[in-house]
Structures are given as C-alpha cells and as structure tokens.
Amino acid sequence: MTILAPISTGSADRQALFLGSAALDLTAIAGAGRPSSGWTLAGRVRDALNPLLRRPGFAIALSFLLLVLVAALAPGLLTGVAPYATSPADKLLSPSAAHWFGTDELGRDLYSRMVHGSALSVKAALLAVGIALVSGLSLGVLSGFIGGRVDAVVMRFVDVLLALPGLLLALAIVTAIGFGTIPVAIAVGIGIVPGFARTTRAEVLRVKTLPYVEAARLGGASWTRTLLRHVLPNSWGPVAVLATLDIGAAIIATAGLSFLGFGAAPPAAEWGTLISNGRNFLMTAPWLSLVPGLFVMLVVFSLNHVARTLDEGR
C-alpha cells in the first residue's frame, strides 16, 4: 500500500507530481548532453584535446581558427563598422588604431571587409570539403569494401581525376556552371575528391582485415552493420586529418579562383577578391592586398599546424 500511496492523493496533487516528474525528465534529457556524453563524444574530445592544449602552438592556432569561425558566423561581434560604408575622405589610409587594416580606394574599412568576407570564404571552404568528404568517403568505402571490379573501375576513375590539375578541373567546371561563390566551392570540392577516395580506400582495406571485423561478421552482424559500426569509425582518423589539411587547400584554391575573377560579384568580397582588388594599388597602398593575403596565410598555416599536431598525436 505504501507504494501506491502517492498515487492515491488528490488529482491536483497528482497532476503537479506528474508535471514535476515531466519537468524532471526534461531537465534530465537536457542535462544528458553533459554527464552521459562525457563518456562518449564530448568527453573523448576533451580527453584528446587536453594534452594538446598544453602545447602553446596548438592552442594559439586553435583559438585563432575559432576566432575566424566566429567572424564567419557572426561578423557583427567582431566589428561594428559596415563593410560597404564608403567614406571618400578616408580613402587609402594606412593601418592605424581607427582602421586596423587600413582603408581601400572608396574609404571602406578593410578590417570590417575581411571579417565580413570570412562568411563567404569559410563557408565556401567548408562546402568544398563537405562535398569532397561525402563523395570521396563513399567512393573510397565502396571500392575498398566491395573490392574486385568495382574497386578497379573506381580507382581508374580516381587516377584520371588525379591527372587533371586541380585548378584546371575547377576552371572547366566553373566555365560550365557559371561564376559565384557556390559554383567555385563545388568546383574546388570536386577537385579534392580523389585524395579522399584514395585515403579512405587505403584505410578501409587496412581495417577490413583486422580480427574484430572478422569477429563482428562471425557474430552475425550484416555487412552494412559491420561497415557502419566497425570499419568506418576506425578508418576515420587519417581522413579527418586530411579533411583539416584540405580545408586549408580549399581556402587557397577558392582564393585563387576568386582572385582570377570567378568568385562573388562585387561589392561582396571574399578574401581572394580583396587581394585581387588591392592589386591596382600595390604601388601606393600595398597593405590592401598584402594584409588580406597575410591573414589567409595565417588561417591556412593554423589549419596545417592543427592537422599536423592531430596526426602526430594519433
């Protein structure tokens, strides 16, 4: 009877109890993100990062990248100046306290234009690597896992793609589908597919022969389940490192394509467009292309450094 006692109380009380327990459940679910995933992803990431964060180089590179990510997602947080606000009186000022990166030929603040340009450049790079990751991963898994004729056909296809110089393949694609940030990102992404396909295939081939895959198969797991639960998670490491490196490569490639004039239409400006615009003022206002270029270099160098540290720590 004592067990039933709370239930036999008044209906209003019961409802309160019910609501209370529901609220409790909700908080449990909301809180589940922290304690329970401390076991899984977040915790593992924290465990992996802790020793790395003690290395000053890695910490600096990572925080710089986070800053760039903030600039890309919420440019308003880093600058209050409008990127397209012209002020002819302040044209071509050199870097100073008021204009950190100087101003361009129309008096627009270069720092603000860089911050707002991050949105386009970072998204383009992430889109490119996303495309490459998805298609490269599928091609690699397909060819490594199935093997045989499928493997031969896919790998010949990858060989052919490798023979086409990346930028020229991208140029052909841009000719066909038109100019702009997104076509450029797609073109660059297709150019880096072969690298992913090869790395994934090599890893899948390595993992496929390991005893635990055999054990999973003997235990009655289907090929799909074996692939998703055992092969893919364990092939992930080198691919993740490559993805980090390739974000840098994609940033340089998209900057190159927008430097050539195939990127976003003015006045929107990606990093490459800014470097290109400054070209005409190289004699009088060299910072207009040198500062954005230096910034791109720092971003890519940080990405390379992070990738390299992750690779060494693996």
């Binding site: 793609l161 023979a163 086409l164 430097f259 050539l260 270029g293 450094h305």
Partner: protein, 316 residues
Amino acid sequence: MKQYLLSRIGQALLVLWGAYTITYFILYLLPGDPLTIMLTASGVEVDSLSPAQLAQARAAYGLDKGVLEQYFSLLANFLHGDFGQSLVRGEAVSTLIAARLPSTLSLAGLAVLLSVVIGVGFAYVASLVRWRPLRTVLNRLPSLGFSVPGFWIGLLFIQLFAFTLGWLPSTGDEGFESLILPAVTLAIPSSAVYAQILIRSFGDVWKEPYMVTALAKGLTRGQAQARHGFRNAALPVLTLVGLQVGNTVSGAVLVETVFSRTGIGQLAQESVLRQDIPVVLAIVALSAAAFVVVNLIVDLLYPALDPRITHRPKVT
C-alpha cells in the same frame, strides 16, 4: 622490360583518354544550353536570332548531332591535332596555344628547376643543423611555404623587388629578367613540398646503420651526409617532381595573371572568363597530357637512376 614499357604506355593513354572524356562531359553536357554560352561567347545576342538562324548556328557548332556522335567527331579531330576554333578570337585554338607555349614552357621549366634546387638545398641544410631551436624552426618553415597563396607571394615580390627596390621588372615577358620573379613565385609552393618530404627522408637516412658506420670511420656529419646520405635521401624527389606538374600548371594560371605574362595560363583565365569552351577544353586536356607524359618519363627514368629497382623481385 619491354612488356612493362608497353603496359605503362597503354595505361598512360587510357588515363589521357579518361581525362579528355571527363573534361568533354563537364564542358558540353553539364551546362543546360551550350549553344547559348557559345553564341554569347562569340558576341551574338541570342534573343535576336530567329529559330532558323538558331538551327543554323547549332549545325555550325556541331551541336545538332547526337551526344556520342559529337563526342567522337571532336575526339577524332583532337587526335589529328585540330582543337577547333576559338569562339571569342575566331582563330584556331592550336595557333593560339602554339603562340603562347614557349612563354609558359620557359616559365614552368625554370620554376621546376628552381623548386628542386631550393627544396633539396633547404632540406639538406635543415638536416645538418643540430641546434634544436633553429632545427624546429627550419622543420616548420616548409609548412608555411605551402600555406601561402602563390599569387600573393607574387604580389609581395612585385611590391618588394620591383616597386620598392627597383631591381626587376614587375610585369611583361621580355628577356630573362622578367622571368625571374614569376619563376621564383611559381617555385615556392612546390619547393616547400620537396623540402618537407626530404627533411623526413634525411631523418630516416640518418638512422641507417651505414651512416653510423660512416661517422665511426671518422667522417664529419657534413661529409657523411654528402657522401652517403644525400643520394639515398634525395631519390623520392623524382616522383614528387612528377606529381607536382599539376600544381605547377595550376600555379602558372595564377602567376601569369599576376605578372601579366601572355602565356597559356593567362589564355586559360581569359577563356574561362568569356566561357570560350573549345579553348578551355584544349588547355585542360593538354595539361593532363603534360602530367601524364612527365609521370611516364619519371617512371621510366627510375630504373636507370636506382638500379636496385630492376633487381628487386616483382610485387604485384
């Protein structure tokens, strides 16, 4: 050996055919309406044409035939060295390319030479240094080298060596002097790759027993590296040079634009900007051919340079 040679050449031809085919399909099938692009590129207002004129234009560009028929007739022309007509310039694509080839070849040739010299030299010196802080810096420097957008180095060089110091011309393609800045710019990313991989390679060689023996005989570090380390460590550069051809060709497009050189790279940039499809197809296919041929040569050179390869049992 003869069989190996034939199979390698066959493979190369197959890759070339694949590269041409992929590029063809990207350029002719991916756009919804290649006719509009082609007419716009040749400076014709599409809307002003009557249906009869459109049909005539379609026949003139060979777009009225079936996809496969178009593909094969274009491929046959290609094999005969006929790359079609430029839509924008009205000249044969082959004459356009032939006129610009020498400029690009001398730029690329000098850049490859410089990148090997700089890359190998850097790795050589970096592996001799023993003072830890300097060594760490030297080991990390190559990664900075390929973090830089190549075209930006070009702008920096123009600002520094042409405008500020006035040593070298900033643009143009006359004489050897105008070749120096573009070639160095084009060489830097590749040399960073060579340096990075060779530093690792030198590191491995230094762990070999024969290096210990060399030191034990009383050679200095410098002598040991020069006589016993260098040849063993530097061999991978040959493969790398082959693989970097693609990057050099890609880089040439940017560098020629930066330095306003009238080469194939600049032709590529202008043709893409005006959607001159036949020129783009020819340039992409030719650069794939350059990649395939150089890598074929590298593969065939290897046994000559490293006799161990021919004596090794075959692993397939």
